[in-house]
């Protein structure tokens, strides 16, 4: 079986990669593009499933070769894949979401002239994510990691005719890239310690090496993870990334890029647990993010952005599991939540995307009552929101409770600060999550007729560039979220022009939503299989109290919603505050504060390059001219003067000759 596992693992990565290249070649041909992209994802799913099956049924070699080791002298770089239970199950989850997204895109983008390019990018994205998941080498991880970032740039900026999409794409890439700089250094430190980039060697070797270096490495890695997983303070790119088409959002925010950080830390969990300072840092980051994002999510006027903030919060949950899980528990709870989040969040995005097509918008006002008019969406969205809120027996409940259990174990076994931090923030987040889920549900099922009057022209006016500096990208408020003076919710630009008319949803897209909904319901059962390696471990007291909290949130949001006519509980906050929420409390300011000095510095550099460095070069020209003019004057053409020179020359030559010889 070992050969077939290796082959399948390679196919998992190669299939979407080949699909991406082929897809680009046939980008103009829509059916071919659809076929190739869907086939790519499907092949990956099959191969992934085979890997998952095979490794539980027989011996296999975990190290799978790729392009061969690189000859780098002292540094060993085997560039192998690492197949084990962890990577196999995540591969399958990613492949499911990927296939669903590809199927859904076929319908969602059926009138987009760049459909072919889009699905090719998605394929490449999937390939990169598979690479991260299957990677047994830090460098391969980095490759997948960054390629995903680049693909996210392409996907978010898919509608490159629209300025806001371009800005969001640029922002997403730059923010994650800057965080990745630290990530690269972290990887270099890890590799340096053991002179190899093999992950197994890193895990085996580091326990014997100085803990300070390990902490340094992980602090660097955490910055990268925070960037990629959109954790505070790098979180702001993700809500803006909603500018991308909904399938892209589903892909980026459900199973792949943002979860890659979780997966990577889970992969390195055996040595991550050795570094308490790094774990504390992660706990604090995630605590801030999970609570903050959940609060902001509640106040969003745009339901898609609300989902984006909920993603931040949920990712923080997964990461917090890694920050607190005792070594005995392992990375299982975090990974479990990764899987469950992949299912229900993909479900939610696709379903909201579907709805947005039907109601032509994603703003809360636009979607108000949407589910009532489109009952076929009632069930999927309900399942998704329930899972998100963590209501039993849906998959969200199972995974969240296992995280809770891990935190509890931490507090009881280790009693560390991070355990407490996570436990408390978890409790707050449960309430808030239930609250915004309830709010969303109430909005979607609101009775009053949808306000069809609000239609704003696209912001994507034709671009007249003078000089777009990087500052500008960050200084303008996120588009489509500004409410005008009448208090009418602004139309988010994302889906405005996306007019599918009443073209019926394609069966493939419908099936994919159905499958995701099914998995969200029964996915929790995975805990009873050996696939994840998590002991069914519910702390009943905590589970009961979290259920209680959910109930309380449900009731209070219902009350709030009932108090205003729009049925939107968030209106309770008032227009001004919601605008503040929509801007994500202005975290953009941090980026501006970072970027504008850089641009100022760049201007100084250009000036210095011209007026200092190059001026010194030019000064030689001036000096030469000046010397030429001076010596021109000296050459008087008088023979008598020349005779004086001659004898002076004799003097110089004589003196220098006699003294210096």
């Amino acid at each position: 079986m070992s050969d077939s596992v290796s082959l399948s693992a390679q196919v998992v990565i190669l299939a979407p990669f080949v699909a991406a290249i082929l897809g680009l070649l046939v980008a103009r041909n829509r059916p071919a593009g659809a076929l190739i992209s869907i086939a790519g994802a499907a092949v990956s799913l099959v191969a992934g499933a085979h890997v998952l099956y095979a490794i539980h049924h027989g011996p296999f070699s975990p190290e799978v070769p790729t392009v061969g080791p690189l000859p780098l002298g002292q540094l060993k770089m085997p560039l192998t894949l690492l197949v084990d239970e962890l990577s196999a199950i995540v591969v399958v989850a990613v492949a499911i979401v990927g296939l669903a997204v590809q199927l859904f895109s076929q319908w969602y983008l059926h009138d987009d002239d760049r459909y072919g390019v889009f699905v090719a990018s998605v394929s490449l994205f999937l390939s990169a994510m598979f690479l991260v998941v299957l990677s047994g080498d830090l460098v391969l991880t980095l490759i997948g990691w960054e390629v995903m970032g680049w693909c996210s740039y392409l996907l978010i900026g898919h509608n490159s005719r629209k300025e806001s999409a371009n800005k969001a794409a640029t922002k997403a890439f730059l923010v994650t890239r800057i965080a990745d700089l630290a990530f690269v250094i972290g990887l270099i430190i890890l590799a340096s310690g053991v002179s190899t980039t093999s992950i197994t060697a890193v895990i085996d070797g580091w326990p014997d090496l100085p803990a300070a270096s390990l902490t340094a490495a992980f602090l660097c890695l955490l910055i990268g993870v925070a960037g990629k997983s959109a954790q505070f303070p790098f979180h702001d790119w993700l809500p803006d990334a909603m500018e991308g088409p909904t399938p892209a959002s589903a892909l980026i925010h459900a199973a792949t890029m943002v979860a890659a950080g979780t997966f990577f830390l889970a992969r390195l969990f055996p040595i991550f647990v050795l570094s308490d300072p790094a774990r504390l840092a992660l706990a604090m980051i995630t605590a801030v993010t999970m609570v903050g994002a959940a609060i902001i999510a509640f106040g969003q006027s745009d339901l898609k952005r609300m989902l984006a903030y909920s993603t931040l919060s949920q990712i923080a949950l997964m990461l917090s599991a890694l920050a607190v899980a005792p070594a005995s528990v392992g990375a299982g709870p975090g990974v479990l939540h990764l899987l469950s989040h992949a299912m229900f969040k993909a479900l939610l995005f696709l379903a909201i995307g579907w709805l947005s097509v039907l109601v032509a918008g994603t703003a809360a006002a636009k979607m108000s009552g949407g589910v009532r008019y489109h009952p076929q969406l009632r069930l999927p969205i309900a399942i998704g929101l329930l899972a998100l809120a963590g209501v039993p027996p849906l998959v969200g409940f199972v995974s969240k409770e296992s995280i809770l259990g891990a935190a509890y174990d931490n507090v009881t076994e280790l009693g560390s600060l991070s355990g407490w931090i996570v436990l408390v923030s978890f409790g707050v987040t449960v309430v808030l999550t239930a609250a915004y889920c309830t709010r969303a549900w109430l909005v979607l099922t609101h009775l009053s007729p949808a306000d069809e009057a609000v239609r704003r022209a696209s912001l994507a006016a034709s671009r007249t560039v003078v000089d777009v500096s990087l500052v500008e990208i960050f200084t303008e408020p996120a588009p489509g979220t500004v409410r005008d003076s009448s208090g009418t919710p602004g139309q988010p630009a994302a889906e405005v022009e996306h007019d599918h008319g009443h073209a019926g949803i394609f069966p493939g897209a419908r099936v994919s939503i159905g499958a995701l909904a099914f998995l969200s319901v029964v996915g929790g059962l995975i805990i009873f299989t050996p696939l994840v390696g998590v002991e069914p471990h519910l702390v009943w007291g905590l589970a009961a109290s979290s259920l209680l909290l959910i109930l309380v949130a449900w009731l209070s949001v219902r009350r709030m919603a009932a108090m205003n006519s729009s049925g939107d509980a968030a209106d309770f906050l008032g227009a001004r505050r919601i605008a503040l929420f929509d801007r994500g409390f202005g975290v953009d300011g941090i980026y501006v504060a970072v970027v504008s000095p850089v641009v100022r510095l760049a201007r100084i550099v250009v000036t210095a390059d011209r007026d200092l460095i190059d001026a010194s070069v030019r000064s030689t020209v001036v000096a030469t001219r000046w010397a030429g003019a001076a010596s021109e004057r000296a050459h008087t053409r008088k023979p008598s003067d020349y005779l004086v020179w001659l004898l002076l020359g004799l003097l110089v030559v004589g003196v220098s000759g006699v003294t210096l010889w």
Binding site: Y642, L646, G654, S656, L660
Partner: protein, 506 residues
Amino acid sequence: MSQAVVSVNAGLLLPVLAPAAGAAIILVTDVVVQHLRRTHYVIALLSLLVGAAATVAGLGLGRVAGEARRTLCLPDGGQCMYVADSVTSTLQLAALLTAALTLLLSWPDDKLESPGGTAVIVSLVLAATAGATAVAGARDLGTWLVALELATLPTVALVALRGARSAISGAVALLTAALVSFGLLALAAGLWYTATGSGFLTPVAALAMVGDPTRRPILVLAVVVAIAGIGFKLSLVPFHAWTPEAYDGAPLPIAAFLAGVSKIAALAALLVMIRAIAPLGAPPLAAIAIVSAVSMTLGNIMALRQNGVIRLLAWSTVAQAGWVVLPLAAVSSSAVHASGAYLLAYVLATLLAFAVIAALVQIRGAARARDLAQYRGLLGDHPILASALALALLSLAGLPPGILGLVAKVAALRPVVDSELWLLAVIAAFNAVLGVAVYLRWLLVVISTSDPAAKVPAPAVPDGVSPVAATVARVHPATLVAVGFTAVALVVTSLSPQTLVGMLGI
């Protein structure tokens, strides 16, 4: 006076005797048959070629450290007054061929001369050439002084003979400098004699004083005063001031002569002295280093300002003279070879440049041929000449395809580096840059497309006649031969520098 000079090898002396005899024959012929022109040139060229042929045996080609041939020796196996080793023979060959090319260049001009002027000019050229070949072989103070003066005085006359105003001031500048320099050389000879007690400019003589430390400063003084005296002839700063005046004032072929034969004679004289003191194990000569550095720098800086090509070449001579003596700052045998090699490369390239200018004088007239701005579009109008000029300029700049110049630069820098004269080497590097600027400034004009707004009408090239044929038709055959010979020589030596450098021996 009991010892007489016993050995006289006339064959060995032929490089000196042939041009001298040629000069005599021409003067006699002129007395007998007046108004001859072509005959004089033929006689002169023949005598120069005979002399050149006589040098071939002494070249270092294919021989490993060939034994020097000597004559005019003292009887008891003592020292010789004339030594023809590979360096000597090569410099002699170069001087003779350069003189021949100069004559070829002046051939078309001779209609302008007064009747009988041809004989005077040609014989003066031959006389100066004889001086140059003699000084290369001279190993005693007397021959050295006389030969050097023989190489110098006729050039003053040659410059002055044209009688134009500019020629007079050139001649005066040249004359005054020559006179004072000769005075210095005489002093240097006296000091050498005082220091060594010998009239020979040989290592044996120099080594004789090693035991007496008080005489060493006198020897040094002799050397540096000689450098100052020869510096004038080599156009080294600050002894250079006559150069632009004389080049500009003199007829073009004479300027070429000054740039060629005169420089060969001067370097030959300097090399005689340097070789004499080289075995002393002398430390680097700061005097030469200073003079070399200043010459390069000033020459290049001034050349950058010139708008007339002759003056530009004059200043380039000053700069190149700095390069020529650069290796001599390290007093060694390899430095002598390097200096000789650089000189050969410089002379060849400069001659080609002068030959092209001479051809252009015939096509376009003197005024246009001397003005840098008028070279615009030359590549389109006269591709052959422009290509030859480009090759010459690039050789002077030391850039491929002028690989000869490049190799010369390598050779010149090597002794400097070997002696670890880092500062001098770096100054030379900067001057290499300045030099490139000088020659590319000219080349840029040459390869630029001609300005359509220029008032000068395009040369009337009939349709169907290639620019090459048009060029050939309008240039005197002698000039064409000169251009062709130097160009081919430059190409061949660029492909295989060994043919030139190897002459100097190892």
